[in-house]
């Protein structure tokens, strides 16, 4: 019974982590421009992240190492520094985009420009990390994230042609805007397969003191939580395809178009639901990314870390998330377009994947860490697939950024 509760909490938490400004914006853009045609990218990204999250949890539960600890210990500092720098940079952009997402929600709600909201949002996030515990952040904030289920409700109420939805789940070639199509596909994959997700998950497993008895729960949380998150993303995509398409909006280049999505179904409350979903999903993600930034640095250099400690007991750790949050708010406060930043950072995330995923192949097959709980054939095939995908994405992201980006 206790395990069951733990699993449900874990599932809810992973939904909170999964759905953020990146998955919402990319799914909405893809739906508006290509209808259901890009559902396969959401599905593919979700399957990949299920495997990676399961492995990150298993690695932490069995070896009592986070992924960052494992990479440094197994490959040495000189190798670790590359994933460290890449992840710090990508996380920073993603964090900025999340703060932008909350700020846009605040602008939609109040009419005051998002620029003025960036610093207050960062301050509120910082306050929660400074005073809160891991449990509060993990569970409290992600519980609120369940409001995003309204997209699934809306998608079902819109009665899409389910046959067409199924057709969209199979990859197909675009009929128009070829460069944009692939750029959208890359961004969706980047939004789903975020390094911060699986790295944060392994830190969380250590914070929650997982051991081998959690292996079953870990599998359930990874599988159910991520599929749940993926389903909501598909919900966003379907709603965008039907509603935005019907309004003649094919190109979402302005976030003011987005709240339109839920209005036909829920009227004024659709607007409220959209704003709440955007604000909560992005705020939750901002907390997780800022924490992950501090975890990464503290674990990489062996400092004392833990969100349950008081800041004075882990001053280095606390300072990292404090600085990251306020610095990440600066570009938004200066007026950088949150939507453009989001799409850009998702594509960059995809390109950075090989650096963080290649180590999985070694760590999860090393008896000294995972003993008899090493990867089976299927998991290894999944890792190799993500690595290959990551390499392709890394090579194509930059040209697509130039020709297909917004």
């Amino acid at each position: 019974m206790k395990k069951l509760l733990e699993i449900s909490l874990g599932v809810v938490t992973s939904v909170g982590g999964f759905l953020e400004v990146g998955s919402m914006a990319t799914a909405a853009q893809a739906g508006a421009l290509f209808g259901f045609q890009l559902i396969w990218a959401v599905a593919l990204g979700t399957i990949c992240i299920i495997f990676l999250v399961e492995m990150a949890g298993r690695f932490a539960a069995v070896s009592h190492h986070t992924i960052a600890d494992g990479i440094r210990e197994r490959f040495g500092f000189n190798a670790f520094i590359w994933p460290l720098l890449a992840t710090l940079l990508v996380n920073f952009l993603v964090l900025s985009a999340e703060i932008g997402g909350v700020a846009v929600a605040a602008e939609l709600a109040t009419g005051i420009s998002f620029r003025w909201w960036a610093l207050p949002v960062a301050f509120l996030a910082w306050l929660l990390l400074w005073k809160g515990t891991f449990g509060l952040i993990e569970k409290g904030v992600s519980m609120l994230g369940l409001v995003t289920l309204c997209f699934v409700v809306a998608a079902v109420m819109l009665r899409p042609e389910w046959k067409e939805v199924a057709v969209g789940a199979v990859p197909s070639l675009p009929h128009h805007d070829t460069a944009k199509y692939w750029f959208m596909a890359v961004s969706i994959l980047g939004a789903s397969i975020s390094p911060y997700l699986f790295m944060f998950y392994s830190s969380g497993a250590i914070e929650d003191q997982w051991d081998k008895s959690y292996l079953g729960a870990n599998r359930a949380i990874a599988g159910l939580g991520m599929s749940f998150g993926g389903t909501i993303s598909v919900g966003v995509l379907i709603v965008a395809a039907i509603v935005l398409g019907a309004h003649g909006v094919t190109e979402v280049d302005d976030y003011n178009q987005l709240p339109l999505m839920l209005i036909p179904m829920f009227g004024f409350w659709g607007f409220v639901l959209f704003v709440a979903s955007l604000a909560i999903a992005c705020f939750g993600a901002a907390l997780e990314v800022a924490l992950q930034q501090a975890y990464l640095v503290a674990q990489g250099f062996g400092w004392t870390w833990g969100e349950d400690l008081k800041p004075r007991d882990d001053p280095g750790f606390s300072l990292v998330y404090t600085l990251t949050l306020f610095l990440a708010a600066v570009p938004i406060a200066l007026g950088l377009d949150p939507l453009k930043l989001t799409i850009f950072s998702m594509a960059l995330t995809a390109a950075s994947l090989p650096l963080t995923v290649v180590p999985f192949l070694f760590l999860l097959n090393d008896d000294r860490y995972v003993g008899k709980h090493r990867n089976g054939m299927v998991s290894n095939a999944a890792v190799i697939f993500v690595i290959a995908l990551g390499f392709v994405l890394a090579v194509v992201t930059i040209p697509l950024q130039i020709f297909g980006g917004t």
Partner: protein, 119 residues
């Protein structure tokens, strides 16, 4: 046990299980006719930067000299005979409060973090 594989880059904790850093480098003693013998581990940014190359090592040492006000800053050293246990972490029989390893964290606590309300 292979030193480079099993010791280098491991998490170091003191006898109270406080995380104090990673094994940033190993110090071995060479004597003629005998295999090299590890005598200490080193922790800290200087040891770490030296692994990236001699130039980053020099820059970091210079920076550390300026920040700490000491003329010749050195990495923190812990004698190998203080090892108590090697498991997930490597435990040394020392008390971090009696070393200078946390000097920078103490400085941060006193001058920055501790001054923010609620810390």
């Amino acid at each position: 046990m292979q030193l480079l594989r099993d010791i280098l880059d491991k998490q170091v904790v003191d006898r109270e299980q406080v995380k104090i850093g990673k094994v940033d480098s190993l110090i071995a003693e060479l004597s003629p006719g005998k295999p090299p013998r590890v005598i200490a581990v080193e922790l800290g940014s200087i040891a770490l930067a030296r692994r990236l190359g001699s130039a980053p090592g020099r820059w970091t040492a210079k920076l550390a000299a300026r920040l700490s006000g000491r003329r010749q800053p050195r990495p923190h050293r812990i004698a190998w005979n203080k090892v108590r246990d090697i498991g997930v972490d490597i435990e040394f029989d020392i008390d971090v409060r009696r070393t200078r390893i946390f000097a920078w964290q103490d400085w941060l606590r006193e001058h920055v973090v501790g001054r923010i309300p609620g810390a």
